[in-house]
């Protein structure tokens, strides 16, 4: 984890690439670290809000990692959590304001969950575990990696929930009307949060059965 070599490292060094892609699969914040579950349940009814949420979280993790990493040697240890929270909260408010100004309909759907990014454990976790001990660029990349790792799972869940729950993908109907005439019905259960949890469970199951090293003994 520690990355304290003094020689200049290229941006896409092996180590940085590992920081970026690790969270996509083997170190995924949702399925492996089981963080950020609550927002994954709440904003995944449709794909569009899920994508916007994923982008917002990626921006907030990346930039809070960057800022905290720049400040890491000046932050007094006794108030470091407060400093981290202030940085995260500021970024979240900015993101929320920007969404309200430019994608108003999505911001209405996300409602309180943008504000709740502040409490998303992934962000505070990355700040404490990575940004406080690493240089700005690796921290920034780590933030992007974790944001995307979170986003991938969100979009996968939203894909299945929107498809099975309302027969649509990104708001466009994909199930032909003839299916409905034959008696097919959208599954209303998929719209409710419990099915998101079950979908996450299925993703975790698939991931672990493909990758035996993840199974706890």
């Amino acid at each position: 984890m520690a990355n304290s070599t003094n020689d200049k490292e290229p941006i896409f060094s092996v180590k940085n690439l590992k920081n970026l892609t690790g969270p996509f699969n083997l170190n995924n914040p949702i399925t492996i670290q089981v963080l950020g579950i609550c927002s994954a349940l709440a904003v995944t009814v449709q794909m569009k809000p899920a994508i916007v949420m994923a982008l917002s979280v990626t921006i907030v993790t990346a930039f809070s990692n960057l800022i905290i990493s720049f400040l890491r040697n000046t932050i007094p240890t006794s108030i470091r959590i407060i400093v981290q929270l202030v940085v995260v909260a500021t970024l979240v408010i900015i993101v929320d304001q920007v969404l309200k100004a430019y994608v108003y309909d999505v911001s209405k759907k996300l409602s309180v969950f943008v504000g709740l990014i502040i409490t998303n454990c992934i962000i505070m976790g990355r700040l404490e575990a990575f940004a406080m001990g690493n240089k700005p660029i690796p921290s920034f990349i780590d933030g992007i990696g974790n944001g995307i790792g979170y986003g991938i799972i969100l979009v996968i869940i939203a894909f299945f929930r929107e498809l099975l729950g309302s027969g649509k993908i990104l708001g466009m109907s994909v199930i032909p009307p003839s299916f409905y005439e034959m008696g097919y019905r959208d599954n209303g259960m998929m719209i409710l949060p419990p099915m998101a949890l079950i979908t996450i469970g299925v993703i975790i199951w698939v991931q672990r059965s493909r990758n035996k090293s993840l199974i706890e003994k």
Binding site: P76, S78, V86, T90, I94, Q97, V98, Y102, Y104, I191
Partner: protein
């Protein structure tokens, strides 16, 4: 370890920097945000009058079709001092009924047909619900309606903003044959086909449906005097 002085200075500087940054962002984005709310309101009014609009053309369509707006009070007198579009129901609903400003938006369609759109607002299960109801010039028959909510249960109460629920209101009447105000009610278990004053409630969304009932009843009752004056 850092000294107390360092910590105090550090946190003060941090707070000031953050406050300045947030103020700048909020001030910069405010016009765009307020514009979004305005356009949403225009779209709602147009939608109640069955005029489809998009975020882009809402303003032009609004100017074209909403030919007049006015504010009345619960006694039916017109108040010219207030602009109908600026009336905020969230604030008005806290005032006593006789002091509230009631806005009416009059849409004139291409064929000269007039529709009278009134806004209403009430409480659902988890938060506010609101809507716009369009009336025919007889001030009795509903020709269109739009409902929305802040945070009703998805799949249950939240169904009030679907077209299936809203379409039911078309053709319903708020006065009975003898001219008494009866409003329109959502009926649990489904309304009779010939019921002029009832629509199907949402299964599983009883509390939201009740909220819609109260909103319709209370909101429209304030307009009764004005409507009666117009039809005399």
């Amino acid at each position: 370890m850092h000294s107390n002085k360092y910590i105090f200075i550090y946190s003060s500087v941090m707070v000031i920097v953050v406050a300045v940054a947030l103020t700048v962002v909020a001030v910069q984005l405010k016009p765009a945000q307020e514009n979004n709310i305005r356009i949403e309101r225009m779209q709602n009014i147009l939608a109640a009058a069955n005029i489809p609009s998009t975020v882009k053309d809402a303003e032009t369509l609004y100017k074209k079709y909403v030919t007049k707006d006015l504010v009345v009070n619960s006694k039916g007198d017109v108040n010219t001092a207030i602009k109908a579009f600026e009336v905020n129901l969230e604030i008005e609903n806290k005032l006593p009924a006789e002091k509230r400003a009631l806005s009416i938006f009059i849409c004139t369609l291409d064929n000269g047909e007039k529709k009278y759109v009134v806004p209403i607002r009430g409480k659902g299960l988890w938060g506010p619900v609101w809507g716009y109801i369009a009336f025919k010039p007889d001030f009795n028959t509903i020709t269109g309606s739009i409902f929305d909510h802040k945070g009703e249960t998805p799949g249950l109460g939240a169904e009030i903003n679907t077209s299936t629920f809203q379409a039911q209101f078309k053709g319903k009447q708020i006065f009975d044959e003898t001219g008494n105000y009866v409003s329109v009610k959502t009926i649990k278990g489904g309304a009779q086909k010939d019921d002029l004053h009832g629509v199907d409630a949402i299964s599983g969304g009883t509390l939201t449906s009740d909220g819609v009932n109260n909103m319709l009843h209370d909101g429209l009752s304030l307009y009764v005097e004005y409507f009666k004056k117009q039809t005399k």
